[in-house]
Subunit: 430 residues, 2 copies
């Protein structure tokens, strides 16, 4: 096993001002190339904390450390220098790199026409001072990355130093794993397989019972690293194993299928968004949203090529918009309230006929914190899917705060669209 | 200074399957009560890794550790046991807690009618086994939290053990800080002030130059911990300082105002979403979205009480929807293309008149990865805001991938709404 650590630097990440996206991304990428991520640590921009973070990882005998952040032009950007110290290497100006910086900054000056280029150049020149003997990873933004091996007689992990912005870090990671000492280290990595099962409509504790039963029934779960997690109302079962244990995984999957088959919607990395997008091939869809306020159509538009199926939608937050833009009968609204089965149906069929789509889907609910009643508490949401003749209509009380209710509603809607497209329709008599 | 560490457990977080929200949240809460967060570490569900994580924090002489996750009913949920070992305390069944679990699970059984309650009860009973002498924090979900001090003669940090789901962790943290040994520790915390400045329309490197200038001009920045960060296209300057240094902060703010005043849109925790929501008081708004697909209206609906100003919107992803639902002239579309100034104007005025709002705002752009041309590359976006007579219309080329372009577009739109509401309108002659 080649074990790796991730050190995220940045007071703004540590103090919760911004949420780190690099740690999870790097961790996933590490597994993909056969590394075992051992820990992700976030520290502030203080040099001592960064150095202590590196040392704690060396003490755990990690083979590789990837740092993110602290390569910018401001004075609190210190990672290169601290990594130099950690690896026992002096700092020096890399003259060729310094020469390439003005060209890199040219793009910037076209985007920000009123820029004082002199001060920007001075600020960015600092980024060309790097530990002697390190391998430079060409900048995607303005900051170069580094591969820094232990200097002199020193032993310890190789350090890959990457900038913080994800759209710079990600391509530079891909370059790093093909470069020099890192490529050499990775050539010794074992091949690990990772498989995913995704389910909807079951609490985690019931799955726990199933896992125990499967183990009791003789599937050797000690050969598999099974992780279950709740995510946006779905359960994901991620399993990592050595390639030789693929047959154990097959028995495990078969056992899960037997117990929970109908609740499984994906046996791969494909999310519900991917599944729905695939099922919509050759069809068009339109949305009518109230409490979600556009998040469902926004989610349907996430994928490149979404214009093949998503015509658009109406966000009918106000009742007048439900009436005017979707043709929902005003009496229907006043008799049943906006959060009701008849209104959910009228919204779905309304948007289908107004936008001329094959499918209409509606969401109307009480996201809170206000607006709940005893009969319709906060979290009450009605959903309807129709193709103009068949229907799938459901209501739920979704737990959590306003953001949870709205986000979870988009997940439920996607699952109902999936079921509808797979042929699950309400009994017309009901 | 009372220094604290955060230990996030969970292989699903470490391997990047889910993104941790608890670390940043806890860190921010710690500062609010006068603790200094020193590091956030994420480890997998292996007991050794959790224990090593705790020990590494003890070696750094932290006074408090908060753990998140690993309290669920499945076999990989081991945090309570590991913390017991770390603090030198035996594990024992807490009988009163065990007795309360069936009542806690009753809510669950009403949400999942087909549940095998026996197996769920068995799985959850494990959660009542806790280190002897720990203080129990009542469960918000099914998992109790714990406050565990060092046992016997042992020295070291107090550990607060919290469950992973944010909607359970957050209220339980609030309880924890008022409870027993934690409340006692916090009574010794100093008061730190934190102030925020938010700017839009400047690269980070130019701000770096300004900070150097401000220091050269005699503001003692060593008294302030200034952190700058780029976030969704905006720059945030977070500053932490001891209450006695408020005058230093005042000089710093004044200096920033002098250089970058017009770019500052917030001098507090208020985000652009908060600012726009406040400025919209007494007015109504409607959105017409293409590439953002509903994300802008979704964002406008984020805040409780959004129905006071957000009437709704039209997601006109397909050109036919632009024509039919927004009244955009078909010839205008074919002559100029959907991503053009005339179409952005027609969408904004179209939604204003169709939905009867005071303000109409439109976004139309090329989110990519396909659809770009030399003249209109991927990332080209047109924005229009109007009240029916005045206009604010802008175009931009937004860097990054599809998700960046779409997300950043909602930020730009909010800033244009703000400027419009503050009276910035295009010259009618232009």
């Amino acid at each position: 096993m080649i074990r790796a650590g991730i050190l995220i630097t940045g007071t703004e990440v540590l103090t919760g001002i911004i949420t780190d996206r690099n740690g999870p991304w790097l961790s996933e990428q590490m597994r993909a190339v056969g590394l075992q991520p051992a820990q992700i640590t976030v520290v502030g921009d203080r040099p001592d904390d960064v150095l202590n973070g590196l040392k704690a990882m060396r003490e755990q005998n990690l083979d590789l450390i990837v740092t993110s952040g602290g390569l910018g032009p401001t004075a609190d950007d210190l990672t290169a220098e601290v990594v130099g110290e950690f690896q026992g290497r002096e700092m020096a100006l890399d003259v060729p790199l310094e020469g390439r910086i003005p060209a890199i900054l040219k793009g910037l000056s076209s985007r920000w026409p009123n820029l004082d280029m002199e001060s920007v150049l001075a600020a960015n020149r600092k980024q060309a001072v790097v530990p002697v003997g390190s391998t430079i990873l060409e900048p995607v933004g303005t900051a170069p990355g580094l591969i820094v091996s232990p200097g002199g007689e020193q032993k310890g992990p190789i350090v890959i130093v990457l900038p913080g912005p994800p759209r710079e870090l990600q391509p530079m990671w891909r370059t790093a794993i093909k470069t020099g000492a890192v490529a050499e280290l990775l050539s010794h990595a074992p091949t690990l397989d990772r498989e995913m099962i995704r389910m909807f409509g079951i609490p985690e504790s019931e799955l726990a019972a199933s896992l125990r039963k499967i183990e009791d029934d003789g599937v050797d779960l000690s050969r598999l690293e099974v992780t279950t997690c709740l995510r946006r109302g779905e359960i994901e079962i991620a399993t990592t194993f050595e390639s030789g244990d693929r047959r154990v995984y097959a028995s495990f999957l078969e056992a899960i299928e037997q117990i929970h088959g109908p609740l499984i919607f994906s046996r791969s990395e494909a999310t519900i968004d991917d599944v729905v997008s695939e099922l919509l091939e050759g069809k068009t869809i339109a949305t009518a949203e109230s409490c979600t306020g556009g998040l469902l159509s926004g989610r349907l538009a996430d994928k490149p090529g979404a214009s093949a199926y998503l015509l658009g939608g109406v966000v009918s937050y106000a009742n007048d918009v439900k009436t005017e833009a979707l043709g929902v009968d005003a009496d229907l609204l006043s008799e049943n309230g906006a959060v009701s089965e008849p209104v959910a149906r009228a919204m779905a069929s309304g948007v289908l006929s107004k936008l001329g789509s094959d499918l209409g889907v509606s969401v109307t609910g009480i996201a809170g914190p206000g607006g709940g009643t005893e009969e319709k508490p906060v979290g009450s949401v009605w959903f309807a899917v129709t193709d103009g003749s068949d229907w799938l209509v459901r209501d739920l009380v979704i737990p959590g705060g306003r953001a949870d209710v709205r986000d979870r509603s988009t997940t439920v809607a996607l699952h109902l669209i999936r079921r509808f497209l797979l042929g699950e329709h309400d009994d017309p008599a009901s």
